[in-house]
């Protein structure tokens, strides 16, 4: 039973309620860096990594805030802790693996203002997930984000060769594709029951 519900959390976060296509979180990188499959993959990896860390931090913080009776500080402490953790991770990666640092490049600091990260922290608190559940939820959300970004990048690479009206080029076309992707992801609604 326990493993089944964990599996459901993963499927739910990645496919049924995909962060990008159902909750509209992380639209900015979705529209911005979905031009090439390679960058999309890197961005997805970086976001999943930060999500995992943010999720663990948020779990600990929430327990602490409830213990000292200050839930109104939730939002402020979440954003400050996430921002500083990303900064720390960035410094750590720079020191430990310069190659990985160069590969992630500008994406890492940008992730701080990605609403998917803060959204994840808030959702898992609202849903009352435990430690293990939070981690699975973060992994699922990250996988869903990467999947959406990769799909979009693949479609846009093909679209570069298509003859599209000039008024619709860029954001407009991307939004139309996102709408169709979102519709097709609704087909997953029956999964997991």
């Amino acid at each position: 039973m326990k493993t089944e519900s964990l599996w459901y959390i993963f499927i739910n976060a990645s496919l049924i309620n995909n962060f990008v296509l159902a909750y509209f979180l992380g639209i900015c990188p979705f529209l911005g860096v979905s031009g090439k499959k390679e960058t999309a993959m890197k961005m997805g990896g970086a976001v999943t990594f930060v999500m995992l860390i943010a999720s663990i931090c948020a779990y600990g913080l929430n327990a602490l805030l409830i213990a000292i009776g200050a839930p109104f500080l939730q939002l402020i402490s979440f954003i400050v802790v996430i921002a500083s953790t990303v900064q720390l991770v960035e410094m750590f990666i720079k020191k430990m693996s310069p190659a990985l640092f160069r590969a992630l490049g500008i994406f890492l600091p940008l992730i701080t203002t990605n609403c998917a990260i803060l959204g994840l922290a808030l959702f898992q608190t609202n849903l009352g997930y435990g430690f293990l559940e939070s981690i699975i939820y973060a992994l699922g959300a990250g996988a869903g984000f990467t999947l959406a970004l990769l799909l979009m990048a693949g479609l846009r690479e093909r679209l570069d060769f298509a003859d599209t009206p000039s008024v619709a080029k860029g954001t407009v076309l991307t939004l139309f594709i996102a709408g169709i992707l979102s519709l097709s992801f609704m087909g997953f609604a029956g999964l997991g029951g």
Binding site: L75, I76, I79, F176, G179, S182, M186
Partner: protein
């Protein structure tokens, strides 16, 4: 013809700087249609006109307060930690708004869910703090915030009205279409948000192009 007189009217207003700060956010630099900033709430809570209006006003309030405070404190905030300071200021006002909406209407608060808290990471607010309020006087920053906020609300309403009208045949919960109207369920779904925004942007692009 009427659009032409309108543009010359706006152009005349542009010459006086204080009004310009206010006017530019409404149309020429509209955050939704021209800058395409802060898309998450625009798509997520625009399923009814009411939600869109409340979200727009909440964002305007946070934008106004944070722009005011940032411009007041701009001489005291060290450059190196300015972003962190802005985020703290914004998060404080967002928490206030969150509790305020909860006090006024629990129903609305549930409808908007976590998206009120997510105003913190709306790039529009941080963008205005960094690009405008940190280097302009308090009065001008307030005007800028009001203009941008109302422009954002206008954009949200454009989406919310269309989606509610087609998705449930009503506007602000008032039934508009007769009973036999077949509702476009897709408009209330996430996909409807993407499509509606795409079509609005298409119209804006086409209008801009025909003017050039």
């Amino acid at each position: 013809m009427s659009t032409r007189t309108k543009t010359t009217f706006l152009a005349a207003l542009d010459k006086s700087p204080p009004t310009n700060d206010f006017i530019k956010g409404l149309w020429r630099e509209n955050p939704v249609f021209v800058q395409v900033l802060g898309m998450c709430p625009v798509l997520a809570v625009s399923n009814t006109a009411e939600n869109a209006l409340v979200m727009g006003l909440a964002t305007t309030f946070v934008l106004l307060m944070s722009n005011t405070l940032v411009s007041l404190l701009r001489a005291f905030i060290p450059r190196q930690v300015r972003i962190a300071c802005y985020v703290l200021i914004i998060a404080t006002f967002v928490t206030m708004t969150d509790y305020l909406i909860q006090a006024i209407s629990l129903e609305l608060h549930q409808a908007l869910g976590a998206f009120i808290s997510l105003i913190v990471v709306n790039c529009l607010i941080l963008g205005r703090a960094e690009a405008f309020a940190s280097r302009n006087t308090t009065g001008r920053s307030m005007l800028d915030a009001l203009g941008m906020g109302l422009g954002f609300t206008f954009g949200l309403l454009c989406l919310g009205a269309v989606r509610e009208l087609l998705g449930s045949g009503s506007l602000f919960n008032v039934v508009i279409f007769p009973d036999h109207f077949q509702e476009w369920v897709v408009m209330m779904l996430p996909a409807g948000g993407f499509f509606t925004l795409a079509i609005w942007l298409l119209i804006f692009n086409a209008a801009k192009k025909s003017k050039d």
